[in-house]
């Protein structure tokens, strides 16, 4: 792989000299005709070349969700350039630090990429457009009010004179950016809002080296890693004589909590690693197992003095007055992210004291911070090259364990670039898992079968406390542990949500749509109440949603399109679910059959999504499809079981992913109502488990209150 080190180095040098905006960079161009062309940074987000090519800087990471393209669309929309001439590149985390965090947040998670940067990236585009117009007007010695810009060309309306962006970019960059810019109304969008082809796909189908695992540098070595199988444990003793005698082995690196073998080929490193005799100190965690974790969570449920994530009215009084009380207990296992690209980090501690890193990160700044912590270097002396991620799903944001390890290995091999790649087995057993949880829900109904009270007790580890043990949580509540209950849209007069934070030794993390288990629990329980009262699940939900609540819109849209209440083929049954999250409203209908053997087949999924605005409808649809497949694996097969302090599953044979034959038909209804910006990377997963499990109830009369389904007996009862 030829990495654009020279170009980036030149950018850095130029930045250092210029020290701010309005910089000119010289890029080496391979064409003989244009021995050298000068590209201009009009502002931090936009570089314009003399031939009108536009490079848009992207601060967030690309892990498949498509915001690399969608963010470029937002900038290009306001810039009003020719989309055919647009390319994108990741903003440099090193420059970001040295330029006072000029690109805003680099964190890529929580379906935030577009919704929390749309305002400033659109303003960057609009600001640049106004500067380009002003530069052209100055050249023509006319007022800017007589000029307009479209498609990368500035026109002087009275005379019909025209200048291309590439002709005035250098002059524009010297101007003071406007204070206020007006953004286009999305109804006027020409580039944003369109299903444009993604910018990253051509390289990906060619097999170009875009991923962290593809990094290749002169004299680079490869590292394989073994971490203590028991979470929290340490290396006690290492015998590496046999490994060091093997072909191609350069070094065995011992750190407090891992051993790595460095070799001239990753397979050799991994083979030698198996020959290293390592004794581990389990640090007191070697006894933990499924049973002890369940006991821990149950002790939480039994705690009578829990912090409250929501308290409305008086549930106790309402239960006393209720005509009927319904109770249920739901649970979910730990779940690994299992990104297809294992965790990877190449680190190179260079002789000049600069540390260069190439990694798959959901947060370039977090990678910088982790590298600084381990290396002891100031941030200015570190660069993180953000590669395309072979999947993220929350694994590569907060943890940064792979960066810390990569830098530790680089310190042991100064001057030599070393690429650390985890084996699948390490990846499966050293994740930051979706928290296991147990939830008890109790509802009171009046004589008219209306819900008068709902009391939910949630026992669940805290993700925030995993990453920041000393974090001060407001009211002792971790928001992602209580979501969907603490912010339930149903108008129940008396509500209480208790949170039992019980943190075991298994590290937990942000797994796509963190807290999504609660949507499964809540929406299945609502279905239980609808069944207990003989009400239609759609009408039952609508009766508890206020007028004007956007949840109503998606629920009605999905029911209509899915043909709720209309006949289905024999053996196929429907389930419905509703959940808002990540700023977006979504509802889903799943069509499911269960055969004699109790095997579940999901045939069709219809999902309605209201994210306010849609920047690229095709990538939003792709994200809905993605959420269905990602969720389906967790519903059907996936769990991470704990025994002797460690995770038992090790690869895709015991942590199964759905294959193409299991893919349901997915119909995505994008119903944006405007006026707000919601995310699209996660919402559609919230409703999948409850919609499928509610359909299973319709098919079998059996309630699924624990996942995955492989552990549930859904065989039909013997015919009566």
């Amino acid at each position: 792989m030829t990495i654009a080190v020279s170009r980036r180095a030149f950018l850095k040098a130029s930045t250092a000299v210029g020290g701010g905006l309005a910089l000119q960079f010289r890029f080496p161009v391979p064409s003989a005709a244009a021995a050298e062309s000068i590209a201009t940074e009009v502002n931090a987000w936009i570089v314009i070349h003399p031939d009108d090519r536009v490079t848009i800087r992207i601060a967030r990471s690309e892990m498949g969700q498509g915001s690399y393209t969608a963010l470029a669309q937002l900038v290009a929309e306001e810039l009003d350039c020719d989309w055919a001439k647009v390319s994108a590149e990741f903003a440099s985390p090193n420059e970001h630090i040295r330029r006072n965090r000029i690109w805003g947040s680099m964190s890529t998670g929580g379906s935030q990429g577009i919704r929390s940067s749309q305002d400033y990236v659109r303003k960057a585009g609009a600001s640049a457009r106004e500067m380009l117009i002003a530069a052209a007007a100055a050249q023509w010695k006319v007022g800017t009010d007589q000029c307009s810009a479209a498609g990368g060309i500035i026109s002087h309306r009275p005379t019909g004179r025209r200048l291309r962006y590439g002709e005035v970019a250098a002059a524009a960059a010297k101007l003071t950016p406007p204070q206020d810019v007006k953004l286009r109304d999305p109804s006027q969008w020409k580039i944003a809002g369109q299903p444009l082809h993604r910018l990253d796909i051509p390289d990906k189908v060619r097999g170009k080296p875009v991923f962290a695992v593809d990094v290749a540098l002169p004299r680079m070595l490869h590292a394989a890693i073994a971490q203590c199988p028991v979470f929290g444990g340490n290396v006690a003793r290492v015998e590496d004589g046999d490994a060091l005698a093997m072909r191609g082995i350069k070094k065995v690196v011992r750190e407090p909590d891992f051993v790595a073998v460095v070799a001239d080929n990753w397979w050799r490193a991994n083979q030698a690693l198996k020959k290293v005799k390592i004794e581990w100190d389990a640090a007191g965690n070697g006894q933990a197992d499924n049973q002890s974790i369940e006991a821990m969570l149950r002790a939480g449920l039994a705690d009578s003095d829990l912090p409250k994530a929501r308290k409305i009215g008086d549930t106790q009084a309402a239960f006393s007055a209720a005509a009927k009380v319904v109770e249920a207990e739901y649970r979910s296992p730990y779940l690994n992210h299992a990104t297809m690209e294992p965790q990877t980090c190449t680190a190179w501690l260079k002789p000049d004291g600069f540390l260069e890193i190439w990694t798959s990160t959901q947060n370039g700044e977090a990678s910088m911070a982790a590298a600084a912590q381990v290396s002891g270097l100031p941030l200015e002396k570190i660069e993180v090259h953000k590669m395309m991620l072979g999947g993220g799903f929350g694994r590569r944001g907060a943890p940064q364990d792979f960066v810390r390890q990569g830098v530790a290995i680089a310190k042991a091999m100064p001057g030599v670039p070393v690429k650390l790649m985890w084996s699948r087995e390490e990846d499966m057993q050293h994740g930051f898992y979706r928290p296991a949880s147990i939830v008890r829900i109790k509802a009171g109904l009046d004589a008219q079968n209306r819900i008068t009270a709902m009391h939910t007790t949630i026992a669940c580890p805290s993700i925030v406390k995993t990453f920041s043990p000393n974090a001060a949580l407001k009211d002792s509540i971790d928001g992602s542990a209580v979501r969907s209950f603490s912010d339930m849209p149903y108008t129940v007069a008396n509500q209480q949500v208790d949170y039992a934070m019980r943190n075991g030794h298994v590290p937990v993390g942000y797994w796509r749509a963190p807290g999504q288990q609660n949507a499964f629990y809540r929406e299945c329980f609502i279905d239980e109440l609808a069944a207990a009262t003989g009400k239609d699940p759609v009408q039952f939900r609508l009766s508890m949603l206020k007028d004007g609540d956007k949840n109503r819109g998606v629920l009605e849209a999905v029911a209509k399109t899915a043909g709720w209440g209309t006949p289905l083929p024999a053996g196929v049954h429907r389930g419905i679910a509703l959940a808002d999250g990540f700023g977006t409203y979504s509802a889903m209908v799943a069509e499911v059959s269960v055969n004699e053997a109790g095997e579940v087949k999901v045939h069709r999924v219809v999902v309605a999504i209201d994210s306010g605005y849609v920047v690229n409808p095709d990538t939003c649809r792709a994200q809905a499809e993605s959420n269905v497949v990602y969720g389906l694996g967790s519903i059907l097969y996936q769990e991470n079981n704990v025994k002797d302090g460690r995770v038992l599953e090790s690869n895709f044979h015991d942590f199964r992913l759905p294959r193409i034959n299991e893919m349901p038909k997915v119909e995505t209804l994008l119903v944006p109502t405007g006026g707000f910006w919601g995310g699209n990377g996660e919402p559609a997963i919230l409703t999948l488990a409850p919609a499928v499990c509610n359909a299973i109830f319709a098919a079998t009369g059996k309630r699924v209150r624990a996942l995955p389904l492989k552990n549930q007996d859904l065989r039909r009862a013997a015919p009566v």
């Binding site: 498949g64 993604r198 796909i201 189908v205 991620l389 084996s423 993605s626 193409i660």
Partner: protein
């Protein structure tokens, strides 16, 4: 020393007989398009063609493929894009893209055997794992190729 024919070119590699082809390609020959996903032939990210057969290179020792014709994504179409790659662009198939090289190699092999594959043919041949959920688009792209209309797409602006 093993003599391999990779993408039409003879290459001599001095490696252990048991080194899987994947690691010869990636770390000895710098052909990084072929990916590691599981190391045990489950995921298909490492799929290449060996004498035209789709093969999981993570689980084939180099000694077993000496003298055979190996084709990787880099050699799939020496000039321009292969029609499968073009269909992948037209149908906007990849998301993260990590598994897609394996998907494309499996598809090209499938279409050689079954120019007009049925859904069952696709289910049987396309056992590659994708974590992002591109399966519906993979199927749509294959069907479009089977109908001989790889470039035909009207869904894009």
């Amino acid at each position: 020393m093993f003599k391999l024919n990779v993408n039409g070119r003879d290459r001599n590699v001095d490696v252990e007989a048991e080194m899987p082809l994947l690691w010869v390609l990636r770390d000895e020959l710098s052909l990084h398009g072929t990916k590691y996903g599981c190391g045990v032939a489950l995921c298909g990210a490492c799929t290449v063609h060996v004498d035209g057969e789709p093969t999981r290179s993570c689980s084939v020792p180099v000694s077993a493929v000496a003298g055979k014709k190996i084709v990787t994504i880099e050699g799939l179409s020496p000039r321009g894009l292969h029609r499968v790659q073009q269909a992948w662009i037209d149908h906007e198939v990849p998301q993260c893209g990590y598994c897609q090289v394996g998907m494309i190699m499996s598809t090209t092999a499938l279409l050689t055997k079954h120019p007009h594959p049925s859904d069952d043919d696709i289910d049987a041949a396309m056992t590659n794992l994708c974590r992002c959920g591109t399966y519906a688009r993979v199927r749509a792209a294959i069907h479009a190729l089977g109908e001989g209309s790889s470039a035909a797409t009207t869904k894009k602006a």
